[in-house]
């Protein structure tokens, strides 16, 4: 009797433990499909990319379907290439300019949306959504036509208005080329940032702002001490996403500048990677460049990710 009750008590305990184990492990089981999917979709190609980056893999090897292992030679050759360092610096400056403009203008337009009458707000939002829905390739082509030297509508309008005597070449220098690319990227990136920030602004409690203004706080002060802290997590997420996107952006620069005009003097990391990997059919070196790019983006965004995690912990 006693023995059986002890036995049943032990069974109950075991059952409870098992249940607790199951309960505790449930999250892990739930996450397994995601981890497997990521492993298949990302891990496998990443493994091949790393393998490729340690091989000599040119046209000859491509036909043989077999690379020759060269250890870290590809990395060494990239890191000793002055084009790589110039491109990296150019890309960092380009990224800072693009992210800065996107976030600054995005925040300004989102704040503007708050002050607008309902129908203007609807109009502006629809315009933004239309921009958002435009495929990048189409946008680049239209933008290219508009700014074309010979037949572009921009030069036409400027010369009709008497603002430029001669046709202006919008792609004459690297600075000018990358400025046009920046214009296109920022134009395309604004809708997402504006709409997300506008949604974030809706969370700022009205009574807080009202109380502040009753207390005599000016608009700037209220913005700095109330609005901005509430928006901070969203701003951080958007900034880190923008950094990742803009650092590796390829479609806009490649299409707008054009293959015929792409050269080491106007490379961004992505076009450098494409030219070295695909146009020179040096896939091993291309793979090494992309691994380095991955590391750089990881370093660039680690700061933001850390902050984001900290904010997450504070909220929790």
């Amino acid at each position: 009797m006693l023995g059986s009750s002890a036995l049943s008590a032990a069974a109950v305990l075991r059952g409870r433990r098992r249940r607790r184990f199951l309960e505790r492990s449930t999250p892990y089981w739930l996450i397994v499909p995601t981890v497997v999917a990521i492993g298949v979709v990302l891990g496998y190609p990443l493994y091949w990319l790393i393998k490729l980056s340690t091989e000599r893999y040119g046209l000859f090897e491509l036909i043989q379907h077999h690379g020759q292992s060269v250890g870290l030679h590809n990395y060494a050759s990239v890191l000793h290439d002055s084009v790589f360092w110039h491109t990296l610096l150019r890309t960092v400056i380009f990224t800072v300019a693009n992210v800065g403009l996107t976030m600054g203008l995005g925040l300004a337009i989102a704040l503007l949306l708050l002050r607008l009458s309902a129908w203007v707000r609807v109009l502006l939002t629809s315009g933004l959504v239309l921009v958002w829905s435009m495929p990048v390739v189409v946008a680049a082509q239209v933008f290219f036509w508009m700014t074309n030297y010979e037949n572009g509508v921009l030069n036409y309008v400027l010369s009709q208005a008497g603002l430029t005597g001669e046709q202006h070449d919008w792609y004459a220098s690297t600075f000018s080329q990358l400025s046009m690319v920046t214009l296109l990227i920022v134009w395309g990136a604004l809708p997402f940032v504006v709409i997300t920030l506008y949604a974030g602004l809706a969370q700022v409690p009205h009574d807080l702002l009202e109380a502040a203004s009753v207390d005599g706080a000016r608009a700037w002060r209220a913005f700095r001490d109330i609005t901005l802290p509430i928006l901070r997590p969203i701003l951080l997420i958007l900034t880190s996403l923008s950094i990742i996107w803009d650092f590796g952006v390829f479609t806009q620069p490649f299409l707008l500048i054009g293959q015929a005009k792409t050269q080491p003097g106007n490379f961004l990391m992505s076009t450098y990677l494409f030219e070295e990997g695909y146009f020179r059919t040096d896939f091993g070196r291309g793979a090494a460049i992309s691994i380095l790019m991955l590391l750089i983006v990881a370093i660039l965004s680690v700061f933001y990710v850390r902050k984001m995690v900290r904010i997450g912990e504070e909220v929790a």
Binding site: I63, N151, K261, R280
Partner: protein, 418 residues
Amino acid sequence: MKRRSIVALSVVAVLAAAVMTATSVASTKKATASSITVWLQVDAQSGWPDLVAAANNQFKSDHPGVSVNVQYQNWGDHLQKFDATLAGGGGPDVIEMGNTEMTKYMAAGAFADLSAAKGSFDNSANWLAGLAKSGVYNGKTYGVPYYAGSRVVTYRTDLFSKAGIKKLPNSTAAFAADAKRLYAKNTQKGFSAFYVAGEDWYSAMGFVFDYGGGIAQRVSGKWKGLLSSKKSIAGLTAYKNFFYATSRAGKTATEGAPNPNPYDVYAQGLVGSMIGPSWFSCCVGAKFKGSTAQFVMPGHVKGTSMPGFLGGSDLAVPVTSSNKSLATDWIKDFTSTAGEKGLQAKGNIPNATNLLGNSVNERAASRSWFVPTAKHWVDVENGNILRNMLGQILTGKLTVKQAASSASDNIASVLNQS
């Protein structure tokens, strides 16, 4: 709990389905012997689709039951597409290659050796030497000459006579003087007496060769850049002056994509004359068809012609093809005497000397230049080294000497890669 597991299960199902569709898409169909795939450039699609159809019919009557799948490609990205098929399969059985693109691929072993079949191609004993050379590597024939083209001046006869130009220019100096006359009569904005895009390196190198310069030369096993030589610099300077005097195209514009094609600007009535392949006459616009003619670009010495780039295409059979003999037969049909005469009628230079005539195109080819036949030449082209140099010269960012010597060093280092 139950709802959660249902959600989790459906997520797994969706992901599994996604993975499965992805793999099913990736497995490509294997080519069967009942069809061959041919990659030709769009030039054939717009210029001579009837010749392609004729070759296909001939091929089909020789090989009943085998169909030909012709896929048209663009110059800008056909090599990247071809590389992808070399790695992953599903590539063409016949591919058209630009003559400057051949060496790199022959050196890497991308094409089947056609030396044994060479004798069975029409006129193969008389193939154009320059073009045939681009399809030979280490003494073996990998490319069959398809057609060549030189670059000529296409011009508006009505504008020339209105400007009082009675005789076609016989030197670049005379041409520049005529340009002045054309500008006096045509004052509209954007008009070019002689339209040449600033970074049109084919035209600019013509000046370099006209002055006795060159691009690169192999000296005891190593490539040496020649653009920084005195003669090349004289040629580049002449090009710069000629451009300033005659053209209002963009200084950093290219001779085609992303820039508009010269004949499109011509069709708008904004061009007195332009340089380019002789088939440019195809697309000058209905309005100007009757008042358009061509002449050979003059050189700087009176009475000579400017050396023109001898462009051309070869046809090759990729090693990945599983129908190599069928592919070779199709090339035979396409480059037959009848086919080549058809190409000639469209304004191209046929692939053999015994077929040559006396068109402006063929006369222009009498003095021609070609790029260095180096394995890595195509990297110089794709790296836009020459275009970039011309942009620097014309915008005045660098002097001719500075730009030329930096490009020269660059070219040497690319060509000397292992």
